[in-house]
Symmetry: D3
Subunit: 271 residues, 6 copies
Amino acid sequence: MTSIPGIPAAAQSTRLAHLDAHTYRDWAVGEHSTVLLPAGAFEQHGPHLPLGTDAILSTAIAEAVGSRIGAKVAEPLSYGYKSQQKSGGGDHLPGTVSLDAAALIGQARCIMAGFLAQGIRNLVVLNGHYENYQFLYEAADLALADAGAGHGHGPQPTVLLLSYWDYVTEGTLATVYPDGFPGWGIEHGGVLETSLMLHLRPELVALDRAVSHPPAALPRFDRLPVVASRTPDTGCLSAPDGSDERKGALLFEQVTAELSGDVATELGLPG
Amino acid sequence: MTSIPGIPAAAQSTRLAHLDAHTYRDWAVGEHSTVLLPAGAFEQHGPHLPLGTDAILSTAIAEAVGSRIGAKVAEPLSYGYKSQQKSGGGDHLPGTVSLDAAALIGQARCIMAGFLAQGIRNLVVLNGHYENYQFLYEAADLALADAGAGHGHGPQPTVLLLSYWDYVTEGTLATVYPDGFPGWGIEHGGVLETSLMLHLRPELVALDRAVSHPPAALPRFDRLPVVASRTPDTGCLSAPDGSDERKGALLFEQVTAELSGDVATELGLPG
Amino acid sequence: MTSIPGIPAAAQSTRLAHLDAHTYRDWAVGEHSTVLLPAGAFEQHGPHLPLGTDAILSTAIAEAVGSRIGAKVAEPLSYGYKSQQKSGGGDHLPGTVSLDAAALIGQARCIMAGFLAQGIRNLVVLNGHYENYQFLYEAADLALADAGAGHGHGPQPTVLLLSYWDYVTEGTLATVYPDGFPGWGIEHGGVLETSLMLHLRPELVALDRAVSHPPAALPRFDRLPVVASRTPDTGCLSAPDGSDERKGALLFEQVTAELSGDVATELGLPG
Amino acid sequence: MTSIPGIPAAAQSTRLAHLDAHTYRDWAVGEHSTVLLPAGAFEQHGPHLPLGTDAILSTAIAEAVGSRIGAKVAEPLSYGYKSQQKSGGGDHLPGTVSLDAAALIGQARCIMAGFLAQGIRNLVVLNGHYENYQFLYEAADLALADAGAGHGHGPQPTVLLLSYWDYVTEGTLATVYPDGFPGWGIEHGGVLETSLMLHLRPELVALDRAVSHPPAALPRFDRLPVVASRTPDTGCLSAPDGSDERKGALLFEQVTAELSGDVATELGLPG
Amino acid sequence: MTSIPGIPAAAQSTRLAHLDAHTYRDWAVGEHSTVLLPAGAFEQHGPHLPLGTDAILSTAIAEAVGSRIGAKVAEPLSYGYKSQQKSGGGDHLPGTVSLDAAALIGQARCIMAGFLAQGIRNLVVLNGHYENYQFLYEAADLALADAGAGHGHGPQPTVLLLSYWDYVTEGTLATVYPDGFPGWGIEHGGVLETSLMLHLRPELVALDRAVSHPPAALPRFDRLPVVASRTPDTGCLSAPDGSDERKGALLFEQVTAELSGDVATELGLPG
Amino acid sequence: MTSIPGIPAAAQSTRLAHLDAHTYRDWAVGEHSTVLLPAGAFEQHGPHLPLGTDAILSTAIAEAVGSRIGAKVAEPLSYGYKSQQKSGGGDHLPGTVSLDAAALIGQARCIMAGFLAQGIRNLVVLNGHYENYQFLYEAADLALADAGAGHGHGPQPTVLLLSYWDYVTEGTLATVYPDGFPGWGIEHGGVLETSLMLHLRPELVALDRAVSHPPAALPRFDRLPVVASRTPDTGCLSAPDGSDERKGALLFEQVTAELSGDVATELGLPG
């Protein structure tokens, strides 16, 4: 976002937490006021990626999207729903600290209802942790009811909920996984997340600590308590072999462009 | 924190979210593993301070304390309990998005119970938003019960809960408020928070937008719904007149030193 | 299940609700006692399928699996989580009566914890309504905690959670959808459910009321409140064109065989 | 219900789960749309009656009432509140799997609120498990509040809540218990339930396994934890001695007639 | 209770709230420490009885029982579950302020669990408001689970739950209602409660304001929202005609004697 | 309150529980109907004060205030939030039986919402237990939302929340603590509470059992689980040395006068 002369730098931030209240107030009543709420997790991502990977990625994408479409980014949900073995290795692994369903729904509901009560027109929840999705959906549904959506005569607020990986195109996948895409199910600590982190926060990636191993072979059911040995020792469901910054840049640019366009069109945001 | 040769930079971070899972695992089982959990709010702080002030301050203090005592800082609670008129101007003001009691308790409880379940010995909740305190207390009490504290034969986990302003000394107050300390009740958006922000995040302070006005005169009761006119138009309960970076530095250094010493002594942490 | 001479018919049922308490008691303490819990919904499935389709299908599959592996079937969860537009057309449609997250989790948790408290060794939750899955997962996790799983020295109970469509093979899909499988996302009221119902409960299918229409084109996000016009007028996300009893029989036989084998192997059930 | 020519059989069902969504939609908006919601339990009923007895009976009565008064029957609540020693023998007995108060209230509230939100005019909750009653009352009260009952200008929805045994007349009791009625308190697994089951589902009754014993002598208080020896070994509070199909038929006919008349009159349903 | 020389008067109280903490501590660890917890309501009782009638009566009975059996009386639950039309006239009537199920269960559970955690051996919940009973039962069940009842090797705590009117004998009824007992269902503001209040708290009874009217004729179902006209204008379900102090004395003496004996025997309390 | 001829004594009570329903009804619809809700605790107060001290004091103050300003007093909240070491010695001490946050909020919310639903204009929550305050605030906020405050055109209800000690003036403190006020933090079982009790309920004070000891030296943080030795053996945080009835009378008169005036002015009550 380029600096606008005469307006203090902080007031031009895409990050809502950096705005002062009066700037916020003026912005919020605008016809197109849109808040992006990134959701992540505090979850092990193997020996080479940081615990905060999911929130770091969803927040970075949200900030890029916000810059493109003139939306503001709320503070992320830094803790997510329990890691499941088939998508995140399991909640038993060191480094994973999770919310239960009630806590995640309660937190997200209050935040969404709070923004809606302040007249924000559009909320876009940008999810970066697979396990969160259904609980965020419930939170959105309850928050809209709290806000009285569907009643009254004024303009109705809108909530969009999405996971950023649903915006990766086939073309991008072909480039990122030249030997064939192994499937979203085991993309935990693998090439996609590692490449994105190498592009966005290389100082937090210890690629020399990464371990090569075959992808996890996981059953069609969830089993609880988990059979720990089904998760590879690294905690990753597939190895980050072949990750690089260039793939990360491609993923990031493609996803933020696609996502920005989709959201702006849906919400009728100006250019 | 100075860099330790041979260990990746990220692994030396005080920020837990920047650690990889294996580094975390090795650290967590240590005899003195201590997690600092900063709590803030997303709350109007007048025309000159950012909405995220409370979490920014508690996180910055936590990071400084962590560096001093060898503790790690968890991702902050970025949203807090409803702003009350007598301490934060009121929950009706634009820019304030809050959690209700159940959501705040639920979130904090899960996070604390999660760290305790992973064998963390000590949790220190470092509060930066007055209204949070009792709900964080409840969360800590429930999390300890979840973790089975009081049962079994192993070492028992400990939770400390504190608000950083309780570590400001009389001497510091005398310097920061040369005309007399007006009381904690109206220190919202005032000299203490503004000076700390000028020291820590000057780019987020728009001192030229600050407005001088008499301190709020508030009743001995809370009234709901609030009488909005009792909060000054700025949203601050006292004006930031006389704030400067030097006062901020003094506050920050004094509080982090005092707080570090107190916590380290209480928890028996090494030097 | 063939009748065993000398044992009353009801006592040989796969349906737990048909057992008397003393027969149940003797069975429950067995080394391999396994309860199948079908989960469905009360949800519109267009003009040609009954509202109870999801529970009817998951219960029928559970009964077939139970017969094969010697497990018993508990009364189904007949009401499910809110229908989402991208998998069920939306919760606003007439005929859909749903549970919210708390109610579904609470119900499933109590039932699972109740069976575990009675010494049942294995619980298999057999889901037939996409939207339920994550809430059933939370319920299973909480129920195991209620039952003290992970503590004590006795044999540990196991919970498996699965959706029956994850057991449809590529080969079956090729036969059922000779023109190409359109994807699970829009399999609501379509060929799979209709064919299965034609096989299992033809008297409840009004194929002459079915309407042909193109598959729904749905966005990559969930939007709330939904844009109603995105769901086809029938309420189905794809038309049941080409459904027949033979496809239903194939699906049913293949899935129950595959699922039975997988579960029996995982749980170490005899023969 | 006799078949109506030209309308598919399923669409004529009294069972809502068997209707298709479009038939439901047309029916629901009618001036007299009435849903019967049977509530039961999954509870031991001795060695001669099935675990599902309570839901089987309340559902059978609901279907008969529905046929008489043109109402439809929703899927039953198959799990009920904890069995109490003085009415069901106690929740500790094998075969009894119960919901706690929050789960039962939550489930019933969502279902009722869902039907009311769809414009259903009348809900009749037909209880078949003594312990459920007060929790169903709470659910009904909350569901009406959810539905905004008491506000607005349209027709107001009505909920009736009843237990079927309150419709057994003195005359019927005299015939069923020629030696004197021992009281409702110990009618668990006794003559009433056994006779009704012999009439309705004889294949699920193993009368040869029934045991004769004196009625339970229970105190005026509830004690928790229960003194297990106060419940007879069978689990029944009174023996089914003297049960027969004829008594069951009498009970069933008398109760469904009385109940149908009462409900139709109260709700102003057409003859 | 006669005064014991050398022990301060307050320490001899049956009312726990009047004990000092050290006297309580010594008493609580005794082998037979028994706490009576009266439960009432804040509910209209017509024009002649006070709103607090239910708690006044259950507390008075508890104090008399406590004196007889050496038990102590905890502060009463002064607010009860929603008044139902068939037992209390309905929750819509002026003067009735009620708890919902969750609030009543939560409050009673915490209090019971608190006493059990302090080593109290026996809890007797003495109910005086019909609608409370099932919610108090749930609270007792949950509190025992909280207290770990059923685990460990020490003496197990016991909870008894009862309503005082279940201790009125046939003989007493014959005297109190010489023209025949009209049934417990309509004993709200009637002869039993009025006579008891005339005996125990005559200054709170305005018998000259009592109105004579026929007993309420109420249906076999509960209807919500209530048809207000079914409750007599007074709010009483039967008129207090014929109430007098002598009947109140008889009821009080008979019930407290019977109840004391029953409880003392059950709990093995000394003579 | 002097007796008014022609109106029954009970109807003139300040205690709502002593009113009959018809008197209540007429009073509640008045333009200035104001209910005072005292909140206390069941908490150890050392060897010389009764366990019910907090509720006794807040109720006595409420009754005096009610007499002065024509308000009525609801039944007190007799159980409070968990005792914290820094204000009440800690929840582990014998004699302390507490509510958790959810139970206290739930109870207070229902009671407040109930009064507001009956048309009461003003609610004044008069707190006597430090730990309660924030939970009562949450309850008030939720109750106002339940009551639809802020919507509609009628007069809006008001809730005031206060702790009585905030009305003690500097002048009074100087008299009560001639050697200097030690601070509110350790006023538990000390001179203020003891003197008030000597004035109001001398028969419940065993001053000869009081123990002299230095005030507790407590840290700036809360620690959980508490280090029990930080609380003096008596359970009091400061000794009651120097308490007397005269100080109690002064405190009582000054506080009730000040509080009555403040509340009457704020609410616009007559005279």
